[in-house]
Amino acid sequence: MNAITSAKQEQVNVTTKASLSQIELTETVGNIYADDAKMSIRNANVYYGDKQAIDNISLDLAKNQVTALIGPSGCGKSTFLRCLNRMNDTIDICKITGQFTLDDEDIYAKSLDPVLLRARVGMVFQKPNPFPKSIYENVAYGARIHGLINNKAELDEIVETSLQKAGLFNEVKDRLNDPGTGLSGGQQQRLCIARTIAVSPEVILMDEPASALDPIATAIIEELIDELKEKYTIAIVTHSMQQAARVSQHTAYFHMGKLVEMGKTEDIFTRPSHKLTENYITGRFG
């Protein structure tokens, strides 16, 4: 189903490193299907103006599991992630085709409200971006705008449980009214995770959530991701192959806007089927 025209093939070869240009890139190898798919994407294409950023990608996100999207810079993995909760809607020149479903429901359907979609599919960004408000208000933000609560006690509870789930509560419980921007980088990122899970999403998209953090903070976040998969379906974009290996159950390898290989994480890292994948995980380029 991932038939790639020869014209496009040529284009890829021109822009890839010379040593790799011989490697055939025809269709995704491995297994893109999941038994219990939370989200399914079929034949996704994304264009920024004339430029094609995503080329015919299909994959499933398995429910209550972590799927890692890896690949060299500019391979389209972040762009792809942003399609999953329609964050690209805000970019005028961005055009998206293909089928995106969440629980068999088309998320690009006219009838589906992006506001509702984003409440169900939350997102954590590369750089910690807490609002310039108090820690409490940061976490309460989603609950407030979506009208999830009826009184202050409910809100207090949501804030507390969310902070607890994000593993931040014990560190900040005495200073909930301090500005969120005053926390350390790792704490800020966990605050952003708490803010995301406060609206009880079903899927959490993470765009290199630990790339701006030091190793200790990264380890804490990774642990957290592992715990969170009990309740949420998670897709994580990462630069670090070690991280993908540690936190994910499934890994998808992107290259030049195409999905090269997908499969169980241990398979990908131990027995990559595609030459490109092998090159990448063995560190020949990337």
């Binding site: 629980d103 409200d113 409440a119 169900r120 979506h146 009208g147 009826n150 999403p201 379906t233």
Partner: protein
């Protein structure tokens, strides 16, 4: 629209309610989208309101200004009778220039009018009749005779201006012969008579551009004010451009980072926000009273406006100088040029378009300024067109202020017309700045 799948993982934090997040969110969605729409609409209305203000302002002034560009003239039957002119018939054969200059033209005008309107009698009516014509009419008669002395003692037809009240009356389109504005019933009938005999004609008002200020609206023009504006802007540009460029060059290229430099910067930033009228006080107290420069002069006006616009020009020039890539400086310095040589022969030419744009914007700001010039006495009623920077003068914005204060109805149109001239000037200046900038940016 929201299908909730059975196996969706609904978080259990919402303890006191059985509803899922999806359901809860969708409950308030309609309301939120309504709010969103309302907010967007308010924003759009605000922008449209801004447009409306621009259109109203320009439209209102334009519509008020249009009548000022044409003017009604009347053709009179004038008889330069020697006796009416108070010239002795015996000397009439060799009419001297002095005699022609001092002759009684008012009398000629009056007598000629009575001849044209034989039915008018009584002092009051006669005076009313004379009031239909511009007070300048007798001088028109005089100029005419001096230009053509052969007309002496003869009957001729001469075009003169109507009085401003009659002019306004005609422009407002009252039913012919009806009283209106400051026109009585009788006067209205005389005007109707003149129109019937095809003696009244509407002409383009050239004198608005060629005449100076006058107490009589039908004679007043903007030439004096325009000249004053040109002289004042000349002084402003002559002073503010070199000063601004030199100041910017120092601050951007040479100034060491120290207290003195900081102090200058703070001064510049704050001066940019000082109300213009305070610069007027400075001009009055220091430049006029302390240094003894003449009041009302474009020289003083130019100095005050220079001090006012200098911060603008310095800030713009600094931005332009900063935009010159450092590589140019390094290359020239590397060739052994001194810092001063690099600055004047490489940095300054590169930054010039930006600096000129900034200077133009500064001058545009100065061009519309009124308040500080009131303080230094450029507000006097001045009939003579100024010819040097130390003559008493007024400028276009002040002329607008003066006319707007005048009670005569015809000045309303004059004021609006003067505003149109001022706005057109500003538009030309700003357009040239924009064009310069875009030309520069394309490079």
């Amino acid at each position: 629209m929201t299908k909730i799948s059975k196996n969706s993982t609904v978080d259990s934090t919402n303890t006191n309610s059985a509803l899922s997040t999806t359901e809860k969110v969708s409950l308030s969605l309609k309301k939120r989208h309504r709010k969103e729409k309302r907010f967007k609409r308010i924003g759009l209305f605000s922008v449209l309101f801004g447009f409306l203000l621009v259109v109203t302002l320009i439209g209102d002034i334009t519509s008020k200004a249009l009548p000022a560009f044409h003017q009604h003239w009347v053709k009179l039957e004038v008889n330069y009778q020697a006796s009416w002119l108070n010239i002795d018939e015996s000397t009439a054969q060799s009419l001297s220039a002095k005699q022609m200059k001092t002759a009684n033209y008012r009398n000629v005008l009056k007598k000629s009018l009575y001849q044209m309107f034989p039915e008018v009698s009584g002092r009051k009516d006669k005076r009313q009749l004379a009031k239909l014509f511009s007070s300048n009419a007798e001088f028109t008669l005089k100029d005419n005779l001096i230009a053509a002395p052969l007309l002496f003692d003869k009957q001729t037809q001469i075009w003169v201006r109507l009085d401003d009240d009659v002019d306004s009356y005609l422009k407002e389109e009252f039913p012919l012969g009806e009283a209106g504005l400051r026109i009585s019933q009788k006067q209205a009938q005389w005007v109707a008579q003149l129109i019937a005999s095809e003696r009244i004609e509407s002409r383009f008002n050239f004198s608005f551009f060629t005449a100076s200020d006058s107490r009589e609206p039908e004679l007043a023009g903007i030439k004096g004010a325009l000249m004053g504006t040109i002289l004042t802007m000349f002084v402003t540009l002559l002073l503010s451009f070199p000063l601004g460029v030199a100041g910017a060059l120092y601050l951007e290229e040479f100034a060491p980072k120290n207290r003195f430099t900081d102090f200058i910067e703070i001064n510049i930033n704050n001066l940019a926000a000082v109300p213009s009228i305070v610069f007027g006080l400075l001009g009055l107290a220091v430049i006029i009273n302390l240094f003894g420069l003449p009041r009302s002069a474009p020289l003083v006006g130019g100095i005050v406006l220079t001090l006012m616009t200098l911060p603008t020009i310095i800030i713009a020039s600094r931005a332009a100088i900063k935009a010159v890539p450092p590589s140019i400086r390094e290359a020239a310095l590397g060739l052994g040029a001194s810092k001063m040589q690099v600055t004047f022969s490489h940095v300054l030419p590169q930054a010039m378009p930006g600096i000129i744009t900034g200077a133009i914007i500064g001058v545009a700001q100065a061009l519309g300024e009124t308040a500080p010039l009131l303080m230094i006495g450029m507000v006097a009623f001045i009939v003579d067109v100024p010819t040097s920077i130390v003559d008493s003068a007024t400028v276009l914005p002040v002329q607008i202020f003066l006319w707007a204060d005048s009670p005569e109805r015809a000045f309303l149109a004059k004021t609006s017309a003067a505003i149109l001239v001022l706005l057109s000037l500003l538009m030309v200046i700003n357009l040239s700045a924009t064009m310069l900038r875009s030309k520069f940016e394309k490079k």
